[in-house]
Each structure stands twice: as structure tokens, then as C-alpha cells.
Amino acid sequence: MNGATMQTDVHVDVRRISQRFRSGRQGDLLALDRIDLQARRGEFVSIVGPSGCGKSTLLYIVAGLLQASDGEVLVDGAPIDGPHPDRGLVLQNSSIFPWRTVAENVAFGPQMSGLPQAERRSLVAHYLDMVGLTKFANFYPRELSGGMKQRIAIAQMLACGPSVFLMDEPFGALDSLSREVLQDQLLQLWERDRKTVLFVTHSIDEAVLLSDRIVIMSPLPGRVKEIVEVDLPRPRQETRALPEFGRLRSHIWSAIRQETMEAIG
């Protein structure tokens, strides 16, 4: 067995994760059923599926925020134990802190780890510049648009220096223009730093545009239905126009159409 080489390659290793929720009369609800999923170091993996397939639950388990009923998550070969700033999280709803200014929000992680003020300040300036919000450093989130808030959330995560990005529909609540702009910015960022990304989305276009691999999940119970390799060339900024893009898109859509229909009812 060449276990050693395998282990250095796999960064995030989800092993037979199951999740049961208590749900009153119907007894237990099996939200996730023996999920196996590996992300290589520097790989961009998207998770798509109709609502109720447990894709967000899976992400929260990898983040260490939820305890799985069964199975384990390994990061760099070691089982995770609760949340850790090495696994950064960006949520759909702006989970940035409204009582902190933009700069204070970005400084949150470094402040928690006790980084001295001077270093914190230059770090914040760096990441604010990266997401283009330097001018808004002293604004409160309520004064900003949804797209800006998500950029703060991303900067807040980056400032903790994570090696894994966990993103739960980060652009889900945005209008389509802001969405495309942020997708491009995330692509640029990722192509430069090549962090490992687990990206939950319900947009097939978004998944195809960003990912190396797409995990398609089916609901009730949540299972991995299919894993699709996306072999489109990078950089991907102009990829939306390629015929291959459309082919992948329709392939994934046909894979989840039936469940989506059922989920909608």
C-alpha cells in the first residue's frame, strides 16, 4: 500500500459521515448517509444538489461546528476536533459582525489569536486592499451592499490564514451581476494561492465555472450521487462561452433534475 503518498495528497478526508436529526413524530431523519469525499491539497471542490440534500450540514461538520452521528473528518491525516481557524468559513447570510466596522471585522481573527495591534493593522490593510474595500474601512456593515458584505466575510476569513476554505453558498443572496464579479474575484484569488476549497452552491453554472470537481448530492437521505471532473482549462474567466461548459452544465442538471422536481413537489 502506498498510504504515505496518498496521505500527503489528500488534504480533507471525509470518511463515512452520517448525520441523524431527531424530528418529532417521524422518528429520526437521516440527513447524511455514509458520505465519502476527499479533497486534494489545492483542489477546488463544489458540492451541488437540491435543497434538503444535506450539503450545508456536511460543510458545517467539516468546519467542526456540528458533530457527525457517525464517521470522521481528517484534515492532513488527523481527525478534527471542533472548529479551527485553519478551516475558514464563509456563510451565505452576512455573518460578519454588524457592531464592528469593516476594518474591525477583518481584524477579528487576528485579534482573537492575540496578534499585536501594529501587525494586525497592516494585515487588515492588506486584506482590505485585496477585496477592494480600503475606502470603507471605517464603515459599519449596514451601510454597505450585499456584495461588499460578502467581500468582508471573505477578507475576514483570509485574515485568519486558513489552508482550507469552506464556503456555504457565499454568493447565494447576491444579484447576478455582483455574483459574477465576486466569482471572478474568487477565481483570481484561488488561482494565485491554490488553497483547498469546499464550495457549497445550488448554482450549477457557478460550480462548473469554479471547480476542479463537482460532487452531486441527492436528498433524503443525503448521499453522494456522482462526482464529475471538470477538465476545463484555467484561467476560467472566459470559460462561460465554451461549448464544453454547456455540456457539463446540462450533464449535471440532468443528474439532479429528478430530485429537484421531487424536492419542489
Binding site: L65, G82, S95, P98, Q111, M157
Partner: protein, 289 residues
Amino acid sequence: MTVVTTTDQARLDKSEAQGAAPALQIQSHSPESRGQKVWSKLTAVTRYYPVFLIFLIWEVLSLLNVFDPMFMPPLEEVAKTFYREVFVTHELLAHIGVSFMRAGAGLGLAAVVGIAAGILMGRVRVVESFLDPLISALFPTPKLALFPLMMIFLGIGDASKIALIFLGCFFPIVINTYTGVKNVDKFFVWNAQTKGASHRQLIWHVILPASLPFVFAGLRVATSTAFLLIVASELIAANDGLGYLIMFAERSFDPALMWCGILVIAAMGFTVDRLLLALGARLFVWQDK
């Protein structure tokens, strides 16, 4: 000297503008802003014209001998008494000081214990299941009913009154804090945890600021409760304080002094509430209106 004050004023303007909205920074340096400021202060005062109107009616009716001066002396009598008690004998100041100290001690204690207990209730299941039924049972009990009991244990001095105010203020503070903590968005907590916040940091940097608007609402209710209870308890049994002063004036047929006490209490309650509101407006600039 003038230079110093203007720069001070400018600095003040600037910091205020930053607190409210950074976009307004430039505007506050323009020359008409000071005039606007004076004007806005003036309108703030004129907003209370009904109060002055009532004073005027009082004075006129007293001069026309409509009121029995044993109940309602002319306003200038009250003013004269006020002047004498404040600037000549200083007695009123002593009473104000005593009442303020008792109310402040009770309220301060209630704030510390109430906020701590509220946070613990909201975060620790055992504390919640222990305190929740106790609070539900005790909250509707009128705390003033416990005052005789407290006098038995603590005497008629400061201790029984501070204890009474503590009890009366504790409930609105603990209940509001608990509600606030329970209402903190799960995603704020999760976000903080994935950014490396420890338990203690989570409380200080997320739970507390997120629930502060609720805590503050509780403090406001508690403040009015404190004023109610301080006067009530001093009316019942005391040797000093504003409640005692009112009772003493009534018994010694000095209606001007009585009105003095009543108006001072009213003014104190009003001022403290306004100060709290102003502080709240400062603290919660980040909130969506």
C-alpha cells in the same frame, strides 16, 4: 483661548460625525454647521413647551387664587424654596445625594448580577433550567411587598432600600439579557468559532455586543423601577432622601418644599432616561434602524 475652543469643537464635530456616518465628515466642517447645531438644540428645548405651558398655567391659577396654597403654592414659592434648599442650607443636595446613592447602588448591583446571570442562563443549560422557573415565579411579585420583610432583616437604613432596589431592577435586566443572548444569531457564533474565538472571547466579543440592545432596554426599564422604589421606600421609612423630604414637608405643612421634592425627582428621572437614550444612540450606531 478662543483658538483652543474652536479646535476642540471641531474635533468634537468630527468624532461625532464619524460615529454617526463617515460620509458626513466633510459637511461638519462647513461654517453653517454650528448655526445648525444651536438651532437643533433650540428646537430640542422648544419640543418640551407643554411642560413650560403647564408651569405657566400653574402660576396664573395660583395668582388668581384658584388653588388652595396649602396644596399648590405659587410656582415662585417653590422656586424660592428650591434656591434656599440648594444654595443656602444645602439640605436638598444632601437628600438628592442620599437617594441617588441608594438607587445607584441597587441599580449597579442589579446590572452586574443581572447581566452575568442573564448571559449564564442563555449559555449554560443547567443554569437556565435552575433560574428560569425561579424568575418566572418571582418576577410578577410586587417587590415593594417585600420591603417590610427587608426592614426586619436589614433595618431602616441604606441596606434594606438598596436590597429592595436591587431586587426590583434585577428582574427586568436578567430577563432582557437572557432574551438577548437567546436571540443571538447562530451564524455570528459559528463565524466567531471558526475564526478561533475561545469561550471567553465568544462571550465578550460576540454574545455581549450582539445582545447589548436587549440589555440596554432592560437597563432603561430598571432605571425607572429604581426611581419608583427609592421614593416609595423612603416614603415608608427613612431619615433622609427625597421620599423622606416629601413626607416630612407634607407633615410640617410646607407644600413648597413638598413640590420641590416632587419636581426634583421628576427632573432626575427625566435626565437619567435622556442620558441613557443618548448613550444608546451612541452605542448602537451600527444598528439598522
